[in-house]
Symmetry: C2
Subunit: 432 residues, 2 copies
């Protein structure tokens, strides 16, 4: 097969970028033999050209002028790995407008400006591919993108943040406290010194927005995502959940539902969740990621793998790069097309089962009072466990599916009962 040279311009050369430059060089011959595409990284924009990056690329390829890489007529495909919104947005938009395909791993960019960029890619007949933006090496974006046409999706649920999954796994396996598990994650480089974006669910929220956009062809942005983090989870919660044959995972959930008036809406949220131990998501431990998809015809699917790391993410970028390069001369990949404006389900409308943990006086009649409050708000109890604590008792409930608003008013009334000393964690539960 005759090879055609594909000149790759990279924006950014951090962890993933450096791994990509190495991977492209390592695989060059094999990729050319298999696909006829001779990939070569010819330009790299970085903030500081003085740093020695130890990548197999000529020194004169480096520049601090990112716009010049995009504009270079000798760059065929642009790979954006700089992160953040500006100037990445403008550079990507310029590349697409000038007919250059773009591969990116930038979740913030897509979660905030995806719709305009997908439209720009389509208008210019070029690819905008981003397999590495959600769940690193896991091939999830492509099946979702292609699903728009062939396979309506009811719901996607993902463990898409490795830091929080590492922390929750440590708390579960070692009985470590949240603070200790976080400190360990920080010392291993899995968590940043300010861990807010991970532990409060912002990172997972951006990914949830991208998943919802692709799964439902709907305009969903990061700001639409409801989120709760894991900083309030205690070892007690994890132990109670284990007694009930569940583990606790931070899930990003995107689902298509209808509101009371029958209007279609999309729910997108991130929160700690009780997952039954026999559910495939329960086996996703440590820094691994997974996305569980409920397709209308395909049934349940789960895609599992490394959600981060230079080489795993670079492998996903390389896959996109081969696709985009292959489409340079004729055709391009599955089109995301026009995204429809969509009603975002208010969190009050969402129905799920709940786990509640109450400290109450240990005397006759208390359970009846508590149960009556659930009943008044139409919240039905699936299971209850009681344990004495000497003078007080702990009641652990799992409810049947209930609306958030009903659960919230149940909680208000429970808190006003004299016999209820404290309402502990309230967590959502996934089921069958």
């Amino acid at each position: 097969m005759e090879s055609s040279l594909i000149r790759v311009g990279m924006l950014g050369c951090g962890h993933v970028g450096a791994a990509l430059a190495v991977l492209v060089a390592e695989r060059r011959d094999e990729v050319a033999r298999r696909t006829g595409l001779d990939l070569s990284v010819t330009r790299i924009a970085v903030r500081n050209t003085a740093i020695d990056r130890d990548v197999p690329v000529n020194d004169d390829a480096f520049t601090t002028d990112a716009a010049s890489v995009v504009a270079d007529p000798e760059v065929d495909v642009v790979v954006e790995l700089m992160g953040g919104i500006e100037p990445a947005r403008e550079l990507v938009a310029t590349a697409l407008s000038s007919g250059k395909p773009v591969v990116t791993a930038n979740k913030e960019l897509l979660a905030n400006h995806g719709a305009e960029l997908y439209a720009l890619a389509e208008a210019n007949g070029v690819d905008l591919l981003f397999e590495a933006a959600v769940a690193g090496a896991i091939p999830i974006m492509r099946p979702l993108r292609e699903s728009l046409a062939g396979e309506p999706i009811r719901r996607g649920m993902g463990i898409v943040n490795g830091t929080t999954n590492f922390i929750l796994t440590r708390m579960t396996d070692e009985g470590a406290s949240y603070a200790d598990a976080l400190a360990e994650a920080q010392s291993l480089g899995y968590a940043e010194s300010d861990p807010t974006a991970d532990v409060e669910g912002f990172d997972a929220g951006a990914k949830a927005a991208i998943i919802a956009t692709l799964a439902f062809g709907a305009r969903v942005v990061a700001g639409d995502v409801y989120h709760e983090g894991i900083s309030g989870i205690t070892v007690d919660d994890i132990e109670f959940a284990a007694d009930l044959k569940h583990c606790i995972k931070l899930l990003a959930v995107a689902e298509q539902t209808v509101d009371e008036d029958g209007r279609s809406q999309v729910g997108v949220r991130v929160h700690p969740t009780l997952v039954p131990l026999d559910h495939p998501l329960a086996s996703v431990n440590g820094s691994f990621n997974a996305v569980f998809v409920e397709g209308e015809a395909s049934g349940d699917l789960m895609l599992y793998g490394r959600g981060a790391g230079g080489r795993p993410s670079a492998s996903a970028v390389l896959g996109d790069l081969i696709d985009a390069a292959g489409n340079l001369h004729g055709g391009h990949g599955a089109v995301i097309g026009d995204l429809e404006p969509v009603r975002i389900a208010p969190i009050d409308d969402v129905t799920s089962a709940f786990y509640l943990n109450l400290e109450v006086d240990d005397r006759p009649g208390v359970l009846a009072q508590v149960a009556a409050v659930f009943g008044e708000h139409g919240v039905s109890i699936r299971s209850m466990e009681q344990e004495g604590l000497g003078g007080e008792a702990r009641l652990v409930f799992i409810t049947h599916g209930a609306q958030e608003r009903d659960l919230r008013s149940t909680l208000e009334d429970l808190r006003s009962l004299d016999a209820v000393r404290a309402v502990g964690s309230v967590l959502r539960v996934i089921g069958d």
Copy 2:
């Protein structure tokens, strides 16, 4: 977007075929809106046109003359769902030779004649797609096919036969005997009245050959696959495995290794295997399938979902159909290309850990004798459990990695010891 009509000719209209005809009709408008492809099933070859099939296709589309469907100038894409080798092979070859893309779910055909058909597709510049041939709805063929270029794979391990996984899950969860679990699978329609192809690993073996072919770009056929089935697995084995924190799964394994002389070789085999309970494959239960892939750069990936069933398999066929149709006018998908002849690793060369279960006399010195035999053959013991049975004892071993040939000679010598009354199951174990 302007739609172009794509006329689909189907060969066969059984379970998957009927579901496909329904799915194509259901999704027609949405597929056209998203992709510009207006799919229509216009011809269907069946064995008997008198059967009412309740599919949304005109009666005059049906014919018993399969060759006429392939030859029809008004058929743009051929979908082969008849199964078996002939006449499917000839029909698929004719379609490809005349420049028509083919989508098939026929694992026997690909496991025996894949190389010639992939070459024919490439020579004619058309697609031959077969996502549904292995693990039904799970998107595994595409990542493997594309991996040929970008991502060298070290090993693939799959639970790719739902019948045997259902039986093993029943034995594990309910303590059912093999015979009872098989009978239940038969009564539910999961197992055929002659279950040999499933329980002895032939079905999984054909899929293993296809996985090995795509993962390694190597010519591997069904006859190259070593296989052992599950009919010898007892409830005792499952319980001993559980004590050792393992479950038992029938795995299809394809791996790239080197022989003693440093020559590259491919090992392909199907056998019952002890899987650690915290391995993601351990959570794949009932009739679900999964393929676990160890990629060189991507790291571990697992793809999980429905391995069979009309609608799940039809959803995979529809995905391929959209791809093939989209490529009709310019370009085609990732090329499998020329498959290299490859050395198939003899089973004696394969290294793995083993589980062994021995009944021995319960008297001093027996364990020392048994341990000496392992030592003579260089097989190292990772763990041992002993339980008294009154007069006799049971020894359950897990070894470190050992070559099959050494394990085999160990077993011969163990059988010749007076103190060894019986050698029970010998099973392979996967580890980290």
